[in-house]
Symmetry: C2
Amino acid sequence: MAAKATEQNPVPSVWARARPTSDQPSLSRTTIVREAIVMLDAEGIEALSMRKLGARLNAGAASLYRHVATKDELLELAVDEVAAELHVPSAGSGDWRTAVTEAARSFRAAALRHPWLPSVLGQVGLVYLGPHLMSFSERLAGLFVEAGLAEPSGAMDTVLSYVIGMSTTEAAWLSTVSRSGASEADFVARLLPAAQETAAGPGLPAGPREDITAAAADPAALREQKFAYGLEVVLDGLALRLNG
Amino acid sequence: MAAKATEQNPVPSVWARARPTSDQPSLSRTTIVREAIVMLDAEGIEALSMRKLGARLNAGAASLYRHVATKDELLELAVDEVAAELHVPSAGSGDWRTAVTEAARSFRAAALRHPWLPSVLGQVGLVYLGPHLMSFSERLAGLFVEAGLAEPSGAMDTVLSYVIGMSTTEAAWLSTVSRSGASEADFVARLLPAAQETAAGPGLPAGPREDITAAAADPAALREQKFAYGLEVVLDGLALRLNG
DNA sequence: GTTCGATGCGAACACTGTACGCAGATCGGA
DNA sequence: TCCGATCTGCGTACAGTGTTCGCATCGAAC
């Protein structure tokens, strides 16, 4: 649009020429990645397209490819950028259990803030680790080394697998809920009859059913409690291996 | 093509008219889902398109929509079809730990046979459960009820989260490896220098590095051992709650 | 024999990720 | 001061996607 103006207007004003095309500080890899994350958070992973992302940055789709090789690379960069939000306490500062718990909570919190993260992790994998993810896993492993566990890397993988699995499930659930437009409690209430119908017959003795009705009351609290319970289980299992 | 022939050929032969368009038993929901799984297994999730799937069934893409509402629905059907491969022992037949272990191994095996499964689960979530997934989780929950655990549903979620997280990571890894064209051992060897470079500096005392070199020797065995270790940890943590 | 619902499908629509090549800006050196 | 070289933005195009529409064909029921 600006280029068209300079071409059609025979009197180039200084004001028209000042910063000809860029209102923003132009394009850069970090700008692009950050805006992609904003978009992913707001509209989910299937709403992110290079054209829409470009439009948001007052740029064309092709311009993005000057700073990012491919859309998958962009997603990897976004994952690592989000990994910068993760927090794991320094080794040597108190109880290893509370430290690991804090790291785990931090991962879950990030996954719930960015529900697209688990699904991207499921496709891209943890193979080509960016610096932030690298530092996260190194610091986490350090906690288990310090705790005196015989197999620190196995311990880390166990905890990470649990945290990833739980967060993936939660994030997928939240995505579905938000896609439905209803609140979480309403969605549970709407889902309840169908679930009971399918779960009829020689099922369980009403254990899960209490579960569901409890979820209708305060779903978020129940999810948090479930996460804490499972984490405690895993940490207990690891604690048994401390003096082995 | 067949339609064109009948139109142009003024002498319709019986042989040309016999089963005019269908060599296969035509199209059906199960045929479509099964072929989709074959395709997903062979070429991965991003290679599955409605047109290619239709072509494989000697059909057009539009025909598939007579039996399947949308591609996402097709994926959900594929997930539940795969869930039919899962095996969990009946409650009351022996030790609950070995029973749960078998169910977990069965899940992992299915995820490695169908590496696209975890990534689909990450997007679709476990919300609208099909009958097979439903039966799997019911039977699994039954094992924990029978074991006498105070919170069977929490226990099940813990184990499932661990299994899902580990399987997701493994499947994503295997997908990346197979995309690279190399064998797993070769891929590890090629990745080793880069990992060591990034992991340099004030890192760990050589714990993870042994890990990597061990992986180069027999990667599949190491993965299996890691899975078993973590599962044992989780089950130990649950066992502590048996007499609570 | 005729109508009717189910099925297959060619063509089209609105998108997608990405490659190519041109325009303009910026900058180091002569 | 000018001149190339290099970098950045982007219009356009290509091949492919999921999905819809309307038409053709079919087997069965009346």
